[in-house]
Amino acid sequence: MPIISTKDILETINMISEENLDIRTITMGISLFDCVSDDTKRLCDNIYDKITSRAHDLVKVGEAIEKKYGIPVINKRVSVTPVSLIGGASDSDGYVKIAQALDRAADATGINFIGGFSALVQKGESRGAAALIDAIPEAISGTKRLCSSVNVASTKAGINMDAIAKMGKAIKELAYITRESDSIGCAKLVVFANAPEDNPFMAGAFHGAGEAECAINVGISGPGVVASAIKRAGSCDLSELAEVIKRTSFKITRVGQLALAEAAQMLGASRGIVDLSLAPTPAVGDSVAFILEEMGLESVGAHGTTACLYMLNDAVKKGGLMAAQNVGGLSGSFIPVSEDAGMIAAVERGALTLNKLEAMTAVCSVGLDMIAIPGDTDENVISGIIADEIAIGVANTKTTAVRVIPAHGKKVGDSVNFGGLLGRAPVMEVNGFSPEKFISRGGHIPAPIHSLKN
C-alpha cells in the first residue's frame, strides 16, 4: 500500500493540536422563498418548519466530520434568504415576530448562530426593507442567536446615505437596549458595502437571492498555522515568505474543501464555497496580529502594517484558490479587535488606532470589525465611521463592513467583555469632530465611474 509520509502526518497532527487549526464554521444556506405568506403567523411557521427540517442534522454532521478527520469544527450555523425579501407584507412588529421564529429554529437545531435578518438597500429602500431596519433594535435585543446585516452600498449602485444615517441611529439604540450586557447586541449587527451572498461567517452571513435551494459553505481558519510557518521560515526575504504563506494556505484550504464536500453529501445539499478568510479567535496563538508581528513588526499598528497585511491577504488567496472547488464569501484576512488577542494587546499598548484599522481595511476583507467605542459617541459620528468605511469598499470594488459597539456608559480606557469567540474589546478613541451636516444632507453618493463596465 502507498504510504503517506510520517513527516506529513506529523505536520497535520501538529497543525491541529499545537497551532489551533480548525474548521471555523460549516454554514448551511437555506432559501426561504417558498415560505412566503401574507399572514405573518403562517410565514413564521413556514420559516420555523423549513429551517428545523433542513438543518435538523447539521450539528450531528459537523460532529461526525470532527470525529472522522480529528479536526475541530467550531461552529455549525445557518444563513437564510435576506428576510426583507420574504417578509414584504409585514410591518415592523411582524419582522420582530419573524426574528423570534428564526431564533426558535436556531435553538431547536442546536446551531450557535443564524444569519439573514438582513436588508439590501444599496439603491433605495423597499417598504419591507424599511420595516426590517426599524425592527432591528427590538429584534436583535430580543433574540439570542440571530444576526443581522444591512447592505447600504455597492460599487454598482453607489452609497445610500439615508440608510447610513438610519444605521447610525439603530446601532446606538441597540447599544442602549443591551446596555446591561456591554451593548452586546451591536456584535450581532453589521453594515456592509458589496455584501457577499455566500458568506459563511457571522454576523454578516445571509443566503443570497441567486443561491441554490440549500448549500453548504465552509469557513476555514488557521492564523496559528500561518504564524508558525512564518516563524519556521526564519529570516528569508518577502518573496520567499509569500511562497511559505501560499503553501500553508493551500493545505488549510484543502481541509476546508474536504469538510465541505463531506457535509454537502451527508446533508443532501449543494456544494457551496470555501471562504479563504484567516479568522482569528481570542485564544493565544490564533491571532492575525501575531502573523503580522511574526513578519517583522514590533507591534501590529506600526507603520508597515498595511503592507504586511496586503501581502498576507494576497498570498492566502493565491494559495487557497487552487485548493478549493469554488471560492467565495469574504475570502481575506479578518482583523476584528475583540476576537484577536494580538489586536487587543496592540490597542492596549497604544500601537493600534481606529485610523490605522481603517487603512488596513483597504487591503483585506471585512472592515472595522468588533471595535468598541465610547458609549457617548454621537450617532452622526457612527454614521460618519460607516460612510468612510463603505466608501473604501465602493471605490475599491470590494466588500467592507462596520461592526462597532458604542458600549453604553463606557469610555476610553474601559473595556467590554462578551466572552467566548466574541472576546474582549478595549474601548477605542474616536475623532469627536462632527460630520452631522454631511450626514443630515441624506441622499445618495453616486456609483464610481469604474462601475460602468458594460
Partner: protein, 89 residues
C-alpha cells in the same frame, strides 16, 4: 479505506502490543508501522485498513482515545483522507 493512528507519550514496555491488540480486537488490519523513541518520548504512526472494522469508525476513535487515557498516551485516530487532501495534489 484506511486510517492513521498516531500514538505519542512517555515510553514504556508494551505500547505497540497494547495498541495492536486493540486494533485486532475490532477487525483493524495494520498495514504499516513507523515507530521511534527520542529522549524517552515514544512516537508511533500506524497506517491501518479499516474495511473490516466491527464498530462505527467514530466509536473506534473513542475506543483508541480511551486506551490512550488509560495508558498515559495520546492516541489520535484520523481518516487518511485528511492527510491525502492536505499533502497530495
Amino acid at each position: 479505506m484506511r486510517a492513521v493512528i498516531s500514538v505519542t507519550g512517555k515510553d514504556s514496555a508494551g505500547i505497540v502490543a497494547k495498541v495492536s491488540t486493540k486494533c485486532a480486537e475490532y477487525g483493524v488490519n495494520i498495514g504499516d508501522i513507523s515507530q521511534s523513541v527520542l529522549d524517552g518520548y515514544f512516537v508511533m504512526i500506524m497506517i491501518v485498513d479499516i474495511d473490516g472494522l466491527t464498530v462505527e469508525f467514530s466509536k473506534f476513535v473513542d475506543i483508541m482515545s480511551e486506551l490512550g487515557h488509560k495508558s498515559g498516551l495520546v492516541i489520535n485516530t484520523m481518516h487518511e483522507q485528511i492527510f491525502d487532501s492536505m499533502h497530495k495534489i
